[in-house]
């Protein structure tokens, strides 16, 4: 068990504004006891990195329904460059199989597809928050 609840950012980057998924997920994770930072769509990558550092987030959840996931490798690069490599990045939404492989290769921790249950997403987020904390402690010692 984590000492304090997982802290999760739910956001959208790029150009698309369809936010049903991000809103449903944010509300569910909050109801599961997680600390959720929700943003409107179209966040610049630098803003997401800044938010993750300021909020000391464990996981960033990117909702992508219209190819915005193509920018996620850049986001991961920016997180690493900012010294926040331990923050876990998750993508949920419409991600074609070939793109999923590329995302995982670039450092994305997990991809959730349509049909994933809310419980499955919550369990995954919790596990990844644990991984982020362990990485942070490892880096600190």
């Amino acid at each position: 068990m984590l000492e304090r609840p997982p802290k999760v950012i739910i956001t959208k980057i790029g150009l698309d504004g369809h936010d049903r998924g991000s809103r449903v997920i944010a509300a569910y994770l909050r109801d599961c006891g997680m600390e959720v930072v929700y943003t409107p769509p179209w966040q610049p990558l630098a803003a997401v990195v800044k938010l993750a550092i300021e909020e000391d987030a464990d996981v960033i959840g990117i909702s992508s329904l219209a190819t915005d996931h193509l920018l996620v490798p850049k986001l991961i690069g920016a997180l690493r460059a900012a010294g926040a490599a331990e923050v876990q990045v998750v993508v949920g939404g419409i991600v074609p199989p070939a793109d999923e492989a590329r995302l995982l290769e670039s450092g994305v921790a997990r991809v959730f597809h349509p049909g994933a249950s809310l419980q499955e997403v919550a369990d995954g987020m919790r596990a990844l928050a644990g991984r982020a904390r362990a990485a942070q402690e490892g880096a600190a010692t």
Partner: protein
């Protein structure tokens, strides 16, 4: 509605009581069933629920008030619906090739979905190049539009432009028509996505300018079309965004009608005549897989709109009472698991829309849940419509479910719920006020969550997702390839070359005029058209208006 006493009322009551006993004995635990809009659904409907005594007032005849059975006398028997598939991908040449393929396979009208960068009001050189053309076509200039529509007979084919305020794609279409020597009065089609409220509350796609500015441009655009474009429908009021965002069918219908009332009242305040502008109001809805609920939603909405247009808005011309709508099968119901099952879902959704009396239909491709549709899947979606129309004979009889005890009782109940929701929006001060107060967003968000909970708990079956699951390899499907990087680079080079080549003085003047129109009260769409014809790009027009009218921030409630 008041029902006269049925001539066989006693026999009916007796028979129903007898059946109810037999039903209760046969069913172990008859559970309650409610549809997505919360209407409890009984196991049987009889003349006690709907006897048809008020036929003339409640249903009437096709083409006659209140249009419950359809807005035209001949409906699909006379002329089938328009097959209009949404298309948008890559660069203009990619779009043009897909368009010609669909037209060759039976599509009877076209649509253009621009790239998300266009939706956001930017040119290709203002956004992350990785995203260009991956979801919609990159169209920034009148020359892009020329390439996109190469070989398409604009004087004969209806064009739907997915083109929110300030309607630059329509401006480019009109400019292309003029270049080809076609009078703009002959151009037919619809400004899809012109309903700015739905963008602010539901899909957040089109924040180019702040809501008050968008509100003004919409009325300018309707006014311009009334005067110059007799074949163009300047307004499509969109229930689809709200239902896709989570609103129930009753909520989506109510919020759409409330939006239409708001726009109509804005036009009346501007001094426009409802008998002139209402006949060119159109609607756009989602068709979920909740079959009978969707049929009832459309029939109830049609009847209610006729009454609102006549009684509340004061229109006297029967054409102003007609509820013309395009519908799209719901993408939210499609599953990534066992994706070919989506063909069956789309078929059921399409039948509901056809029985609901639609004028135009888009059937989703089964692979939309995986990627932007592939060519093969897009052809199956068109074929589905051809099969329903010509093999299944769904068009032989007008309003074939009319008179069903269930469908009529459900239509009445859906209408009551829709009216109650409209009253709620009225109490908030109309749609703009309800949106500013977050009333609408809260309603949609709660309904989205309630539906997800039903799926989560298994109360709502989703085949392949929470029931009938199989191990499968969906990776076997080949999603659409993204445009080759070289094509995107070429498109960017072409944009740079276009910007360098045009008459810079004329562009600067036209954008200056546009800014002055925004500061004053001249018609903004006329100024947009002049700017596009002078060579201004989409991004430049949007930037000018954003500067003058403010950028729209999302109105989100979690």
């Amino acid at each position: 509605m008041n029902q006269p006493i049925h001539p066989f009322a006693d026999e009916l009551a007796e028979g129903e009581a007898r059946w109810a006993n037999a039903f209760a004995a046969a069913s172990a635990a008859p559970g309650r069933i409610s549809n997505r809009s919360g209407v409890e659904i009984k196991p049987l409907y009889t003349p006690r629920d709907w006897a048809g005594g008020n036929y003339a007032d409640a249903l009437g005849f096709p083409g006659e008030y209140p249009f419950t059975r359809g807005i035209y006398a001949s409906m699909h028997r006379g002329r089938a619906w328009t097959q209009r598939q949404l298309v948008g991908l890559g660069v203009p040449e990619d779009y043009n090739a897909r368009l010609k393929d669909l037209l060759a396979h039976g599509a009877t009208a076209i649509s253009l979905i621009p790239c998300n960068s266009v939706f956001r009001g930017y040119d290709a050189d203002e956004v992350d190049a990785e995203l260009l053309g991956t979801c919609g076509t990159v169209v920034n200039t009148v020359e892009d539009m020329e390439r996109a529509l190469e070989g398409v007979p604009l004087e004969r084919i209806s064009c739907a432009m997915n083109d929110p305020s300030p309607f630059t794609l329509l401006a480019m279409l009109l400019a292309v028509a003029r270049r080809r020597g076609i009078a703009v009065a002959r151009i037919t089609g619809t400004s899809n996505q012109s309903d700015c409220i739905s963008h602010f509350v539901a899909n957040h796609m089109f924040f180019r300018i702040a809501l008050p500015g968008a509100r003004r441009i919409l009325v300018d655009h309707i006014d311009f079309a009334n005067r110059e474009l007799p074949g163009w429908n300047p307004l499509s009021v969109v229930g689809q965004h709200m239902q896709q965002a989570g609103a129930t069918p009753a909520e989506a219908m109510a919020l759409t009608l409330s939006s239409a009332l708001q726009y109509a009242e804005d036009c009346i305040a501007r001094g426009l005549d409802p008998d002139v502008f209402l006949p060119r109001f159109t609607f756009f809805f989602d068709i979920s897989i909740s079959f009978f609920e969707e049929v009832a939603k459309f029939r109830a909405g049609r009847r209610l709109w006729a009454r609102l247009a006549r009684e509340r808005l004061g229109a006297r011309d029967p054409r102003a009472w007609r509820f013309k709508f395009h519908a799209q099968t719901s993408g939210v119901d499609l599953t990534r698991q066992q994706p070919l099952n989506n063909i069956a879902r789309v078929t059921a959704q399409a039948i509901a829309g056809i029985f609901g009396g639609l004028q135009s239909l888009h059937t989703d491709s089964y692979d939309e849940v995986l990627s932007t549709p592939t060519g093969e899947a897009a052809r199956i979606a068109v074929a589905t419509q051809n099969i329903l129309r010509e093999e299944a004979h769904l068009v032989d009889v007008i309003d074939p479910l009319g008179g069903s005890y269930y469908v009529e009782a459900l239509t009445d109940e859906m209408e009551r719920r829709i009216e109650a929701l409209i009253a709620k929006v009225d109490a908030a001060g109309g749609m703009y006020a309800a949106v500013e107060q977050g009333v609408v967003q809260g309603m949609i968000g709660e309904s989205a969550r309630r539906f997800q909970d039903a799926v989560e708990s298994g109360r709502q079956t989703v085949v392949g997702v929470n029931a009938y699951r199989t191990a499968e390899a969906s990776a076997a499907l080949r999603p659409l390839e993204y445009p080759e990087r070289s094509r995107i680079s070429a498109q960017l080079a072409r944009l740079a070359e276009f910007k360098a080549r045009r008459a810079q003085g004329a562009v600067a003047n036209a954008l200056g005029e546009l800014a002055r129109a925004a500061q004053g009260s001249a018609n903004l769409f006329a100024a947009v058209l002049a700017a596009v014809e002078a060579g201004a790009t989409h991004g430049e027009v949007c930037a000018t208006l954003r500067r003058e009218l403010g950028f729209g921030q999302p109105l989100t409630v979690v």
